[in-house]
Symmetry: C2
Subunit: 518 residues, 2 copies
């Protein structure tokens, strides 16, 4: 995801001991070399639209390309890694450099877009395109940057009248920190659920690098809200607990000067907190730590990070009014979803209550009875305030700023603000909240599904997985997308689909239920 | 220069022993690090024209550049070498790659051109432009390719809303195989001749690399006609005789299957003859060998290359008609100059006679009396045929295909076809031949100057140097250009000035006279 704030002269608070532990947990990535599985050429038809002409791989490897001609390679699946090409000249000895444009695409449609037309607010530097001169042929061209891709389009911008270019071979050096060698699908073979499960696993694996990246195309970075879901999905699949631990130490090791955990940590050239803080994301720190403890029982990590976890709750409580409501400004600083105009105060309040449940368990693990007791009391107070201010007894739903948004209902249910009966009724009839504040990102769909599960609506949850995530599979997804609205397939939060991320780990969570209910 | 032929399945004839000797003569280049001398920003004015805004270097090193902004650096002189930049972010931590466009220019005007508008026949891959993504900042960015440049324009295509880019420093690693440490100017300080001499030296030095390159921007390659003039100029300046010897061995080491010396030899990835042959260029092989012998007295090289030299004369003689004229097809395969429509038969004939004079001296060095005698006889025969067919006694000049071109007069004079008196009169009154077949390249202007010298018109020759080469100096040339017509400054043989070479060694020859007449 990507939202941003800018703080002038931001100086993060670093704890070198924690950062050293994070660095000690770095592991070499697993590398696999793969070749293309198919090829085609793109031609412009009479209406200026690009049309695909299929090509077998052998013909592709001897195709001589002159000025303006192209070759597209299909690696058969989504990969995070490095591309290399074997290039040669055909004709006379090359008497000028070869000048190439390379476009790397996660989905084929990206190749049909004109990147120069992109005019969104997000940096165009994310578009996976290179212009390259090759001075000497034959050449083994290894691109130095890492890409996320299934397709590669190679366009010859120029050779010379004396020779043409042949792409004799191509390789992708695929990298991941996920060990998928022992993974087996849990869903029944041939079902949509099996297809979804496979795409979930691929999505997570391709985002598991030196840290849990949100997406390997963009932003290639450790975001806390995304990380919480990745860690959860990892427990049900690759179980790289060291990677989870490393990320926890990174978030604790470099923070805002007042102790807040940043929404995001940069790791290159060295770990440093982003000057962006999201109210809800920082609260996922205690949540993620508690879930990690449940999986690992790693008491040393609890000892190292307990204080940071509790501090996130305390700092959030400071942002509450005397009548037990999250302040307007703090609420607006929550992410929740890509949803324009959504009043996020109630969601922020619910996330705080939700996170306190995990913080209480952390306090209990540490036998910090006093803290646990205090947190229970504060959570009750916030819960009561939430019911008082946001619950509409008439309509039997939560209203915030006049909005009856699905996000608000979901988070209140997950925070256990309504009674179990009220919660179940809300979710049974959740269809009435889906408009006009539509769920945009699979991230929000995750919590919606969790709320269905939480209220015992398991079949409704599985049906939602099949229909929502299934609609991406039906459209050919190899990995799940950052943002997807089946009713608005062209939507982008960035003003241009070409910068959308088509492998985004916050979308991989259906595997949690598909693999746990086996 | 660049003209080309294409021969299907061309298999050069290689002599491994000669090629090995050529490779043994490779020497490490001399490297010097230099920094920029000035800076500016380019702004578009209301009429869409680019305007320069000066900037001191200190300000340039802290200028923060956002989307679409640029910084131009001026290295103060022309260099052949490698560019490196020290890049940093300003603002928040960079949250997206920096995406840059770099344009490297030999002359400032190149920066004002829109490269996408180039539509000439020569490869656009010669345009010195790169699009580069920098994933991690700060960065020491060392561009892997070698460029020929004085100016660098860095345009930020994008950073992100959170940060801007600062070019904290820049360096050029300047490379040459010329040792200019002991070089002193011979011309009187402060004169135009001194300015011309300095530009000549710079031009040659920047083309002296692993071989004598025609131009370090384009084609970066060893052409025989260019090489002959470079070797000559080298004797009057840097005296890198090993480099001359290496190039002679390269030309002899890889040839056409019938023994002809190619117009050009590629050296990367390994030495191989181009499938291009120019009638006149191949004849410069014996010329260059004889001149090298005169300088070096290196009898081993003469022994190794004598046969190849003589073969060029013999093969050219085979392309003559029974009445002693170069065949039409062979004449058309001469380069002579960038001059559309010029009938080159007479020039080709003259170059052959000219080359035979040098071949005779080679035979004499080898005490090959019989061959010397035979060559004298054949040269006389060709000279008589030339007078008979091309001399117009009425007009007292040479006519070929109805043309009274300056190139024809010059080459006939250099071949000593007319009597000394006829030659002197021709050159005294050479102004009448300058239209319509205008001299285009300094290469032709060299031979024009030589013909003036040859006929004793020294002051006229010096005046031509001052006016022709001086007009480039007046326009700010740091190095002399591949092609230049003061009356048509926008001319390009390639359909676009942006691929012109502005440091071209065949233009450096005035130093031969400026340094020998001291």
């Amino acid at each position: 995801m990507e939202l941003y704030t800018i703080i002038e002269n931001f100086q993060p608070l670093n704890d070198e001991r924690l950062l050293e532990k994070a660095q000690e947990l770095r592991r070499p990535l697993r590398c696999t070399e793969v070749g293309p599985a198919g090829a085609c050429i793109l031609h412009q038809d009479e209406d200026g639209r690009l049309q695909r002409e299929g090509l077998d791989l052998e013909s592709a490897g001897s195709l001589a390309l002159g000025r303006g001609q192209n070759l597209c390679l299909d690696f058969g699946n989504h990969f995070t890694g490095y591309l290399s090409l074997e290039l040669a000249g055909e004709g006379s000895h090359p008497d000028a450099p070869a000048f190439l444009k390379l476009q790397l695409a996660e989905v084929f449609e990206e190749l049909l877009e004109d990147s120069s037309a992109y005019d969104g607010w997000l940096s165009r530097s994310w578009i996976q395109e290179e212009m390259i001169h090759v001075d000497v042929l034959p050449a083994h061209l290894r691109l130095p940057r890492r890409y996320a891709f299934r397709y590669v389009k190679i366009t010859v911008l120029d050779t010379s009248p004396k020779y043409r270019l042949v792409v004799k071979g191509a390789k992708c050096l695929y990298e991941t920190s996920a060990d998928d060698s022992a993974i087996q699908l849990c869903s029944r073979p041939g079902t949509m659920e099996a297809r979804i499960e496979r795409v979930c696993l691929r999505t997570l694996a391709n985002c598991m690098q030196d840290v849990f990246e949100d997406g390997p195309k963009r932003d290639r970075r450790l975001w806390l809200g995304d990380f919480r879901l990745q860690a959860l999905a990892d427990y049900f699949s690759f179980r790289n607990l060291d990677l989870v631990k490393r990320c926890l130490y990174l978030f604790a090791g470099t923070r805002f000067p007042d102790g807040r955990v940043s929404a995001c940590v940069f790791t290159d050239p060295e770990p440093v907190a982003d000057d962006t803080w999201f109210f809800d994301y920082s609260l996922f720190f205690p949540v993620t730590l508690e879930e990690y403890m449940e999986e690992s029982g790693d008491t040393q990590t609890l000892e190292d990070l307990y204080e940071t976890a509790m501090q996130q709750i305390d700092l959030s409580l400071e942002k509450c009014t005397p009548d037990g409501l999250v302040q307007e400004e703090a609420g607006a600083a929550a992410f929740v979803d890509w949803c324009d105009g959504l009043d996020k105060r109630a969601c922020a309040q619910a996330v705080l209550i939700y996170a306190m449940r995990y913080a209480i368990r952390l306090a209990e693990r540490r036998r910090d009875k006093e803290k646990a007791q205090e947190l229970r009391r504060q959570a009750d107070w916030l819960r009561e305030s939430a019911m008082e201010h946001f619950w509409d007894p008439q309509e039997q739903c939560f209203v915030c700023g006049g909005q009856r948004a699905i996000a608000t209902q979901v988070w209140m249910v997950l925070a256990r603000v309504p009674s179990p009966e009220q919660a179940r009724k809300l979710m049974e009839d959740s269809g009435r909240f889906l408009q006009p504040f539509r769920m945009a990102a699979p991230y929000m769909h995750h919590y919606y599904t969790e709320a269905l599960m939480e209220t015992g609506l398991k079949e409704q949850a599985r049906e939602h997985i099949r229909s929502y995530w299934g609609s991406m599979v039906e459209r050919g997804a190899d990995t799940f997308w950052e943002t997807w609205d089946p009713e608005d397939p062209e939507a982008s939060p960035y003003g241009g689909k070409i910068v959308n991320s088509y492998c985004h780990a916050w979308s991989c969570t259906p595997m949690i239920w598909l693999r746990s209910c086996r």
